[in-house]
Symmetry: C2
DNA sequence: GTGAAAGCGCTAACAC
DNA sequence: GTGTTAGCGCTTTCAC
């Protein structure tokens, strides 16, 4: 069934007829205007305006083999973590005339594989993936369709797909080292479930670089502000004394900050709190959050550029490792200092 | 598995040839499987699997006139405000086999109009718009193309496009009334620029419902946590005494909370802080934020459903006004109480 | 139940 | 510079 909404819209032939030229000429003013005589072009443009002509993306795509649409698979949008990256990807892609459709996976590999199929069904030319942990089906899909795919938020030069991100383990190490350097020994580690999340797994591995006299106690909860608060409450309820809270993400660190304040525990006087990510709001909390900066925005931009180069010029993306940086603010202090 | 030579992927004809049937039959097993004889269908399905057949969305779209893609124009993704709504839209749309491509406008009407054109160029079947303030070009575009468009985050039954949202002015009124009912008279209003933002404008209008003896002083800054903090700092620096901070959005309220804490001003003992939106984290702050709940998620769901009904069954969306609700938590208290 | 064939709206040779 | 025309991959009558 062909759906006709209101007045059927004008097509190339209609414009050609109105401008008294051939469809080829109309197509030319659309694609290579400078090759058309000025006067002819003017007539065609007038006709297009008159008829409110909008070229059919589908027909265009079927001929060029290009949809100009890319797909991104991310765990969730409802969380500041991916927002700035997606924002950067979308914005940079726009500079190349490319669009982005984002699909959320809820961190479920099966959902991810299913949505990837859906993305391919609508004709995306390339895929942005988060991390390297994926369902076999997705891997097979990428291999069979040979669709350009780049991994973000993770760096591993040896992965079979190009990774454009940062070294999560190193970031974890830096955060841990900062705390240890401050003399903290009894550390509460707050993190989200790592089962399907390799970024978290790597950060936790980085935390494990602690010297033998440092005691790490893990508290796991959801990757939300509320989750962080809950984890802090669990740590407090455990009765164990902690010098510092080390969070696998700023989002949870925010929750930890709130919960400690609620409990009347002064940060950083009584306990230090360390984040990891450097969300925009991390610089504004009270106290301002010490954290490890992750170049989320630049990563998005670089990933978009690499993808554009891939789909436009057939240059496959290459791994990029972006540097992270320690941000010492107010939420961490020398033990007993 | 047969590896195809060249980069060309299998098409209907290839599958038909492999299964020794006609393209029509292959098309049938794709669209109306039950009308095909079981054995034939089995052969076709085997051939499709063997060739890793993926039907071309473009070719499909050109025939059906349907792209199954919708577009959303939102100010930004880098801000919790739209995230849950977009998340809900995307998710609900998925239930109807529809995809979403989101474009960010940075709250610039010209950018919005340009991106809307871009969305139409890639063939979206419908548009989600934020608020009712748009560039003339966009209005003209919507009228000429007759593309289904629904407005979210706003409610106005008389607007020429269906609005699915809430009454921002009423929400503002509720927030203000709560503060006034608590005995507050000197109120610092923290808000983002309202120039291109009718939601904000309406909320401010709601604030103006204050009795004559209430004094409202406005502090404008960016719609971010940092912006809220900055506005609070300005209010504090002004030297004027305030009973309460009334924020046009929770995002800014978070910043206000942080700044007040930094300044050593107890909330709600010394001053009340009122938000508007009820972000997930509002329930976790210290103190927990009193606010007016905006049904962001339900709005996204309802908007998606209305849009699906529109593009699938040609029933135009109708305005929906979702109720807001006062959430009294810990950040507001009776004056001197 | 299945096949043949006519398009859908556009691009890209190739001709003039 | 411009026109003619053959497809692109699929859906959809309409025969059989």
């Amino acid at each position: 069934m062909t759906v006709r909404r209101g007045k059927k819209r004008a097509n190339l032939r209609d414009v050609a007829r109105a401008a008294e030229v051939s469809v080829a000429t109309v197509s030319r003013v659309l694609n290579t205007p400078d090759v058309v005589q000025a006067e002819t072009r003017r007539r065609v443009e007038a006709a297009m305006a008159e008829l409110h002509f909008v070229r059919s993306a589908a027909a265009r795509a079927i001929n060029t083999g290009r949809s100009k649409i890319l797909g991104a698979l991310i765990p969730t949008l409802d969380n500041a973590i991916f927002a700035s990256t997606i924002d950067a990807i979308e914005s940079r892609l726009g500079d190349f005339g490319l669009s982005l459709v984002v699909a959320t996976t809820g961190e479920d590999p099966e959902v991810e594989a299913r949505k990837a199929q859906g993305l391919l069904d609508i004709g995306v030319e390339g895929l942005f993936l988060s991390g390297i942990t994926h369902h076999d089906t997705l891997h097979a899909l990428i291999e069979h369709t040979a669709v350009p795919a780049v991994v973000i938020s993770y760096y591993d030069a040896n992965y079979h797909l190009p990774t454009i991100g940062y070294d999560n383990r190193e970031a974890g190490r830096i955060a841990l080292a900062h705390l240890v350097g401050l003399g903290h020994r009894r550390i509460a580690v707050v993190h989200n479930p790592a089962e399907h999340n390799d970024r978290t797994r790597e950060r936790l591995a980085g935390f494990e670089s602690a010297p033998a006299d440092v005691v790490l106690t893990r508290f796991e909860s959801a990757l939300t502000v509320a989750g962080g608060a809950r984890a802090a409450a669990m740590a407090l309820a455990s009765g164990a004394p902690f010098d510092a809270f080390l969070c696998a993400s700023d989002v949870q660190a925010l929750g930890v900050l709130f919960e400690l304040q609620r409990a009347g525990i002064a940060v950083p006087e009584a306990v230090s709190v360390m984040g990891l990510h450097d969300l925009p709001s991390a610089a504004v909390t009270a106290p301002r959050l010490s954290t490890v900066h992750l170049p989320a925005e630049e990563m998005g931009r670089r990933a978009a550029e690499a993808m554009a180069d891939w789909v436009e010029n057939e240059v496959p993306a290459r791994p990029i490792c972006l540097p992270t940086a320690l941000k010492i603010r107010e939420s961490t202090r020398r033990r007993g200092g």
